[in-house]
């Protein structure tokens, strides 16, 4: 669209400033994680230290079972993602290709859980996990996360965009639902499934509220919990170490996002909310 040069310039300034505010902390964290502690306090404005050091990472590795914590985070995120994608795909297939009584109501009920605040389910879920003896274990974190309303919604939207005639051709060829799912529907919604999967993985990776209730001991922590522990238990003294933990926490989501951003933005921008 043709617009006034000055107006255009002003908007670019506004957007650049916003981008700066949003992205600056990430860059700043990377810089800080390589600073000696006193440098962090004395040379606040230097993003990158003049005396870069790995000592923060070393301290972090020395004081925490880093591998264990990272593995915990990874296991929770992967298992939850695989299950959520699987259950969402099956549910979406049922909603799109079957006509059965009560379908609309079930869909409405499942989707409306997006609007239920977690405090409403927090105590009973805590008790369930506790009764199952899964407190302070990764499975206790995983268990309530095996299905997801947003996932059902996004994959349903994506399936709806497949022309129905493709499925009808398959039906005329006497194909069963398993084959239709595997050979036709899944390949066609793969981009959506991939980005929904990445979204699940990252959300679960970053999840804080639920793990903070379930996980008690350091070696069962996930990365965000370990990070919070550094801040709350040792005050500001370990700030640069916390920055190193931050970098470790961010790195996987960042890589995934930067690699798949086209896919992900595509899925979120093509499905639309109705």
């Amino acid at each position: 669209m043709k617009i006034n040069r000055t107006v255009e310039f002003t908007w670019h300034v506004i957007f650049m400033a916003t981008v700066l505010v949003l992205v600056f902390p990430i860059i700043y964290a990377v810089g800080m994680s390589f600073k000696p502690l006193e440098d962090a306090y004395n040379n606040v404005l230097n993003i990158f230290s003049l005396h870069p050091t790995l000592e923060n990472y070393i301290t972090f590795f020395d004081t925490l079972p880093v591998l264990k914590v990272t593995m915990n985070t990874f296991i929770i995120a992967s298992v939850a993602t695989i299950f959520k994608v699987f259950t969402s795909f099956l549910a979406a297939y049922a909603f799109v290709y079957f006509q059965f009584k009560g379908k609309e109501i079930v869909y409405f009920l499942l989707i409306s859980t997006i609007f239920i605040p977690f405090t409403v389910t927090m105590i009973p879920n805590y008790l369930i996990i506790s009764d199952l003896g899964l407190l302070d274990s990764v499975w206790g974190v995983i268990l309530p996360q095996l299905a997801d309303a947003i996932g059902i919604f996004l994959i349903t939207q994506s399936m709806r965009s497949i022309p129905l005639s493709l499925i009808e051709v398959a039906r005329l060829d006497n194909l069963g639902h398993g084959k239709i799912m595997k050979d036709i529907v899944f390949p066609l919604v793969r981009p959506a499934v991939t980005s929904v999967g990445i979204w699940f993985f990252i959300s679960s990776w970053n999840e804080f509220v639920w793990p903070v209730l379930i996980l008690k001991t350091t070696e069962n922590y996930t990365l965000p919990l370990a990070l919070q522990m550094y801040i709350s238990s040792e005050g500001g003294t370990n700030f640069t170490v916390a920055m190193a933990v931050s970098v470790i926490t961010m790195i996987i989501p960042l890589i995934l996002y930067l690699t798949f951003q086209k896919y992900i933005i595509g899925t979120f921008t093509s499905s639309g909310i109705k």
């Binding site: 005329l172 036709i184 390949p187």
Partner: protein
């Protein structure tokens, strides 16, 4: 018997009846065109044959067996969709043979069918392309190929040519005829295009408002329309349907009268009715600058150039008459004399819109077959 029979078939969505009481038979090996304006129920009818829509009431027989509850895959039918419904993630070849592989045919059989159809539809050399890398015409041929390789008894087509341009349509029609000659499937073909219907059909089933209006050969549908709807739907510009008054020896339209011959007078007398509409196709109206002894006078309202001929819109005492003229250009305001060709006129009951039929003497040998000209509406 690869025939398809509808017995009191109805289809409704909630309270809306989209197909009302269909009763007819599609004969083994014929090319039947389901023709009609959009929303007339023709696609729904086809989809009921395919088993993609449930039948609300009545029975559908295929091959002599009741099919109401038989799933699509077990009806031995192949279908070509308007949007072709090619699997976008499969190559041309995979698209064609996917159904055969699921049927567990032998490798050799699949290969030989594939080679045959690729050859027939000039798709050789494109086997590994994805649908998005094919032209519209090629995609259409892939859809045909995929339906053809199944070698099924019933071949269903839902507006298969409507996404092609005029030239491609002509060649695609030829290919369809070739396929049909080869395999003699019972072909049911849905279209809203009357040219396609005329050129391709053994018989046309014209539908409107969920009801069958006429089922007959293209010639009869054109020359002996069963009702006003058929007369107006077939042909372009449509048949003129005029208000008229019936007198002992003549009919009058507006202030002017027109004498009928003995054959028509006798025929109308036998029908014992005088509440009639008069019908005449534009191409059956003779135009002249000089008056006819038995004809009408009117004023030209405007003319349309159709390339091959002109459509002249004439005001006849307040009613509009369209006439086709091949050479003379008529101008607005000109006085024009015209007369309908006596053996090409139609009369319809005013109330029902049904034809009163045609005098025996006017039926050419072609139309004499009473079976064929059965009026269905």
């Amino acid at each position: 018997m690869k025939e398809i029979r509808f017995e009191h078939v109805k289809k409704s969505y909630g309270n809306t009846e989209v197909v009302k009481d269909l009763n007819f038979t599609i004969r083994e090996g014929e090319r039947l065109i389901l023709l009609g304006p959009s929303g007339c129920g023709k696609s729904t009818t086809l989809r009921m044959i395919a088993g993609l829509e449930d039948i609300t009431e009545g029975s559908l027989f295929m091959n002599g067996k009741k099919m109401n509850d038989v799933p699509s895959g077990k009806r031995n039918a192949a279908m070509v969709f308007q949007n072709y419904a090619l699997y976008p993630h499969m190559t041309l070849k995979q698209n064609i043979i996917y159904g055969l592989k699921v049927q567990k045919l032998s490798k050799e059989e699949i290969q030989s069918r594939l080679d045959f159809v690729l050859d027939m539809l000039q798709l050789k050399g494109l086997e590994d392309r994805l649908p998005k890398d094919l032209s519209g015409g090629q995609r259409q041929r892939v859809a045909l190929a995929r339906a053809t390789v199944k070698r099924s008894d019933f071949f269903l087509l839902d507006e298969p040519l409507s996404n092609l341009d005029a030239q491609l349509r002509v060649s695609a029609r030829k290919e369809l005829l070739k396929i049909h000659d080869m395999f003699k499937q019972t072909m049911v073909y849905v279209t809203h295009d009357q040219i396609e219907a005329m050129t391709f059909a053994d018989r046309i089933a014209l539908m409107y408002n969920g009801e069958l209006q006429m089922l007959d050969t293209p010639t009869n549908v054109y020359h002996r329309p069963a009702n006003v709807f058929t007369a107006k739907f077939i042909g372009s510009p449509p048949t003129n349907i005029l208000e008229m008054n019936y007198h002992e020896k003549s009919i009058s339209i507006g202030q002017q009268s027109f004498e009928l011959n003995e054959i028509w007078l006798k025929h109308i007398k036998q029908r014992n009715t005088s509440d009639l509409l008069f019908g005449i196709r534009p191409e059956h109206v003779e135009l002249s600058t000089a008056s006819f002894s038995n004809g009408y006078r009117g004023k030209v309202k405007y003319t349309e150039n159709l390339g091959s001929n002109y459509s002249v819109y004439i005001d006849l005492d307040g009613q509009e008459v369209v006439a086709a003229s091949d050479h003379k250009h008529w101008y607005k305001g000109d006085t024009v004399y015209f007369r309908p060709m006596m053996d090409r006129i139609h009369f319809f009951h005013k109330g029902t819109g049904n034809s009163i039929g045609y005098p025996e003497e006017l039926l050419d040998a072609d139309y004499k077959n009473k079976e064929e000209s059965r009026v269905l509406a």
